[in-house]
Amino acid sequence: MLASTASIIARDLRLAFRRKGDVAQVLVFFVIVASLFPLGTGAEPNQLRAMGPGVVWVAALLAALLSLGRLFAADYADGSLEQMLIAAHPLAATVAGKTLAHWLTTGLPLTLLAPLLGVQYDLPAPALGALVASLALGTPVLSLIGAVGAALTLGTRGAAVLLALLVLPLYVPVLVFGAGAVSAALAGLPHGAHLSLLGAFLAFSLVFAPWATCAALRIALD
């Protein structure tokens, strides 16, 4: 089972690699959104530093959201999703594999790019470290929860906006503790508890999200 899951991950990565533009778009969106805020609120350094954690996190969240439509759409359109449903390979493992591939092409690049944006907001080194750590733990959760939404909205009218509407409220805990970790580091306070909680969210969603996604996929493809 591990081998076939690995091949699914490899397949999705290969497909994403062929369409590098999609991955690049997500990163560009990330940078644009984060750059918009100072234009909207003024570039006073203390204010920027205070809002930096929240802004970078929200921008990462929105960028991850934008990319979710891709997760199942292509396979749904060409019929390979139906094949995955009836295959001997357990659907949950397939879903987990695809989600992992999604994170590798979305969440991970966002996490690696985030320090640059953090520097734009004049975040000091400890805060930057907390930013990377919180995003590293949080973006997989965004992919996992997002997969449920993507499966639920497969083939529906106005899927992209509906997906955002469904998934954004569920993202709130990750946002609160992710940005909270960076704000705490900014204030010189310990942020281990925040990261532990993010880790707990990750463990929780690793167990439950693939199951919900499978249920939603079966419903969509009935």
Partner: protein, 251 residues
């Protein structure tokens, strides 16, 4: 485990799992719940406005609590009930479960809105701003988004059975997340507010105030049952109108 009607299993109440049997039952029950709602509301409002004393700090503005708190309770309670109907639909594979969930959603969203509106009008004279980012109001706002998402998802799927099942998954995911969201917002609130700006009353509330809120909450509950039963009857008519039993009823 599929149950068209439960009579084969000898459980009389399962017979009502069929829309055909539930339709007339709901129609008979609605008046009782409606009357209960009115009576309880009158009692609660009487206690709230004519018996409960004036609050020392907030003056008469605090009387909004008899609307705000029951509405907030109801909004959360209805979401859980909606999710339960969804789970029941998965387990029993009945059409009625999905219809009930669809019937509950608009009323739940309504109470969420009332809680938010009354919260805003309570916050303005008490704390000076129309919107107070306290834990309860912020959680209510997110709950409203969850309701709207549920309604929107169901509306976007044409096949009713698929819509019911998708809605059930969403409601289940939502109900599991609601405590997590509430906990996160609570934590966020204590962190970012200096003084505790909270619309939650202190524990030392006059007994009459508690009774007033309780009666209003029960009134809201009875109202919800009455309206949801009425709405599910409309939904049954909408979905089952091709069926022979509907034609016979002259519906």
């Amino acid at each position: 485990m599929s149950l068209g009607d439960g009579s084969a299993r000898g459980e009389w109440w399962l017979r009502y799992a069929a829309p055909q049997a539930f339709f007339p039952l709901a129609g008979r029950l609605i008046p009782y719940f409606a009357i209960l709602a009115v009576v309880l509301a009158l009692g609660g409002l009487y206690l709230g406005f004519f018996v409960a004393p004036t609050d020392f700090q907030q003056g008469e503005a605090y009387r909004i609590i008899f609307l705000h708190v029951p509405a907030a309770w109801m909004s959360m309670f209805l979401y859980v009930v909606m999710a339960l109907w969804g789970v029941l639909g998965f387990v029993l594979n009945t059409r009625l479960s999905g219809m009930m969930a669809s019937a509950i959603a608009p009323t739940g969203a309504l109470f969420t809105f009332i809680a938010l509106w009354s919260g805003a009008l309570w916050g303005k004279p008490t704390w000076g701003t129309w919107w107070v980012w306290d834990a309860r109001l912020t959680s209510e706002l997110i709950l409203l988004f969850l309701y709207v998402g549920f309604i929107a998802l169901k509306a976007s799927i044409d096949d009713p059975r698929r819509a019911d099942r998708a809605g059930a998954v969403l409601a289940l995911v939502g109900v599991v997340n609601v405590p997590i969201i509430y906990f996160s917002v609570q934590w966020w609130n204590t962190l970012h507010q200096g003084a505790s700006v909270s619309l939650t009353r202190s524990p030392s509330m006059a007994t009459t105030m508690l009774w007033g809120m309780l009666l209003m909450a029960l009134a809201a509950w009875m109202y919800s049952i009455a309206v949801c039963l009425a709405r599910v009857r409309v939904i049954i008519r909408e979905r089952e109108r091709e069926m022979a039993w509907m034609q016979e009823l002259g519906q």
